[in-house]
Amino acid sequence: MTATVTAPTGASPARRDHQRPALRHRLAERGIDRTLVLLVPGVLFIVLLFVYPFLYGLQLSFQPQSGGGFLANYKAFFADPYQRNTIWLTLRLGLPAAVLNVVVSVPIAYAMRGAFRGKRTLTTLLVLPITLGTVLTADGLLNYLGPNGWFNRVLTGLHIVDQPVTLIHNYTGVFLSLIITGFPFAFLLTSSYLSGIDPSLDRAAATLGAPALQRFSKITLPLLMPGLAVTFCLSFVLAFSVFPSAQLVGNPSGSTHVISIAAYHAAFDQFDYSMGSAVAMIMAVVMLVIIGLVLAGRSRLYVGSTSGGKG
């Protein structure tokens, strides 16, 4: 008796299931499932430590301490040649340093792509500066390249120069520091992009009659270019936000008055956090413009698979 009563009520949800799949299945079809929960800590982390401070700084930059409309900080920055020039000074350091790091890393990584004795030792030596940090590098540069450092003593001792050459507390010092700390990074990235290119492509090109230079320019380089673009962007971001070495081995109030120093001055010497935020925002925009240009160029390249087929 009870069975006949419960049967219809039991059947109706079953029929509804048949017409429409369960919510869980419909979500899964759109790629939403429980594993997405794993994203929560990461997203929370980024929101709390990056998105919130960024938005806070952004709105702060539109509330100038000295009044005068919400764009007053930006107007002041671009009206003052000393401030305005920091963009140019930073680009003048960051762009050539990033280009040089990437360009130099390519032949070295290319030469080191095969297996050879001592490869690990050499790689360690090349990558070691990354562990030193900018302050230690700056300290070393000051000692080594300073007026009484080894380098100048050797040059004067050999009578190559009469007066010690000035390599620190100027543009050169900061540039060298950017190369020393930036190269290992560019080299590691370039190496990993290179190792992703199927070595049989090079061999195939060789059997087809291409000498080494042609194999590099026609096969390896085109496949490496998208990776080099990304390497450049990251190297540039590192170099553009230069602060410690500009302060320590540069001329922070003159030729290496870079934009991060300007932001620091505004915020922590003049206690104008609003202005400091505005300078930081300008810095971010300049970086985004450069990266945007490079990535736009990258999208015109071949960016597909770097393997020669099935393997």
Binding site: D198, S200, L201, R203, A204, A205, A206, T207, L208, G209, A210, P211, Q214, K218, I219, P222, L223, Y302, G304, S305, T306, S307, G308, G309, K310, G311
Partner: protein
């Protein structure tokens, strides 16, 4: 360098070692113009090493390679001018199909119009003329392999080397491409050196086979020679002699030279076979191919088995039978046998090949249809 037509490619004691390990030891081989030679052996036998040495991708540690009377083993690959087809195709992913095929011609500074004409010809040859503007990633595995072949043959090289070109294809496509390679070879008369671990592939394609083991040549011969007259257990095993019975030589049989007949016994089996390898005093191995066994028939070389496993293969059945002593016998028959049925198998004396030693010396069977 455009290599002129040649008559023979001669390998003279070609050796390659990696540290202590000898990957290839003293390979002597002469390939005549227009010939299709297959290097056959399981992985690690040295066949790919041999191929890479010939293509110039790996320097030799001994011996020399001659194209007629010109020594070429010192030349880099780009100056040997051999066409190579790689196992993973190695197509340039950033170039269109026609650019891939035209790459070698471009490197040889062939004029634009001629490049276009020859690329079109080569693509027509492999039936891909309508795919010329696509990129390798847009093609299927079989099509990619065809492009790789077109890229190698468009240069009309004196020698085409192929490194397991079919191993990445599925079974059906593999059969099709095998035909295709044979057809291209017949149509163009290209001298081809083909490396494979698949005996069926080697037998069906090659004019001559070279069986390698641990870097040493085991046998060189026509498919028929290798198929019917393997020189040792290893080659026999590779050529599909699936039944390998370790038996004792009956009194008076020890010392029988190759070519003689000998009686073997053991495990409840008595067999008379042809000696292929001079027998010592120890045990001998009788190698029998499943297709050479018949059910019933003449009473010579009778083996009693119980049918255990029956596989349907269309016209024939592939059957595993169990002998009274517990060993297995594989055979093929068109009789409708059922598991559990007792049958008497026979095999003619000249199809029982007798080698010295025991089966313990035989390498593990090689996976053929991977």
């Amino acid at each position: 360098m455009d290599t002129p037509r040649f008559d023979t490619l001669r390998l003279d004691g070609v050796s390659r070692s990696f540290g202590e390990q000898n990957a290839l030891q003293g390979l002597d081989l002469t390939i005549n113009r227009g010939e299709f030679v297959a290097l056959l052996g399981p992985s690690g036998c040295g066949k790919s090493t041999a191929l890479n040495c010939i293509a110039g991708l790996l320097p030799l540690t001994g011996g020399s390679i001659w194209l007629d009377d010109q020594r070429i083993d010192g030349l880099p690959p780009e100056r040997r001018g051999f066409g190579m087809v790689f196992q993973n195709y190695a197509l340039f992913p950033h170039m269109t199909i026609s650019a891939n095929v035209g790459f070698g011609l471009q490197m040889r500074k062939v004029g634009k119009a001629e490049v276009a004409r020859r690329v079109a010809d080569a693509l027509r040859m492999v039936q891909l003329e309508d795919q010329a503007a696509k990129y390798p990633g847009q093609l299927s595995g079989g099509q990619q392999q065809r492009v790789a072949i077109a890229r190698a043959i468009v240069l009309e090289p004196p020698l085409v080397v192929m490194d397991e070109p079919l191993s990445n294809l599925d079974a059906k496509l593999r059969l099709e491409m095998r035909m295709e390679i044979r057809r291209l070879h017949q149509a163009l008369g290209l001298t081809t050196l083909y490396v494979t671990h698949d005996q069926e592939e080697a037998l069906s394609l090659a004019d001559r086979l070279v069986v390698l083991r641990h870097g040493l040549v085991q046998q060189i011969g026509s498919p028929e020679e290798l198929y019917t007259e393997p020189v040792n257990q290893y080659v026999a095993n590779f050529m599909g002699y699936r039944n390998m019975l370790t038996l004792d030589v009956e009194a008076g049989g020890a010392g029988t030279p190759a070519g003689g007949t000998v009686r073997l016994t053991g495990s409840g089996v008595h067999l008379t076979g042809c000696v292929r390898e001079a027998l010592g005093g120890g045990p001998a191995v009788a190698a029998i191919r499943p297709d050479d066994i018949s059910v019933g028939g003449a009473p010579e070389n009778g083996i009693d088995v119980l049918v255990e496993v029956v596989e349907y293969h269309g016209r024939e059945l592939a059957v595993q039978g169990r002998r009274p002593d517990g060993g297995t016998i594989h055979f093929r028959t068109d009789r409708p046998l059922k598991p559990g049925e007792p049958v008497t198998l026979t095999v003619s004396t000249d199809r029982v090949l007798v080698f010295s030693g025991s089966t313990a010396a035989v390498p593990e069977p090689v996976g053929v249809a991977a």
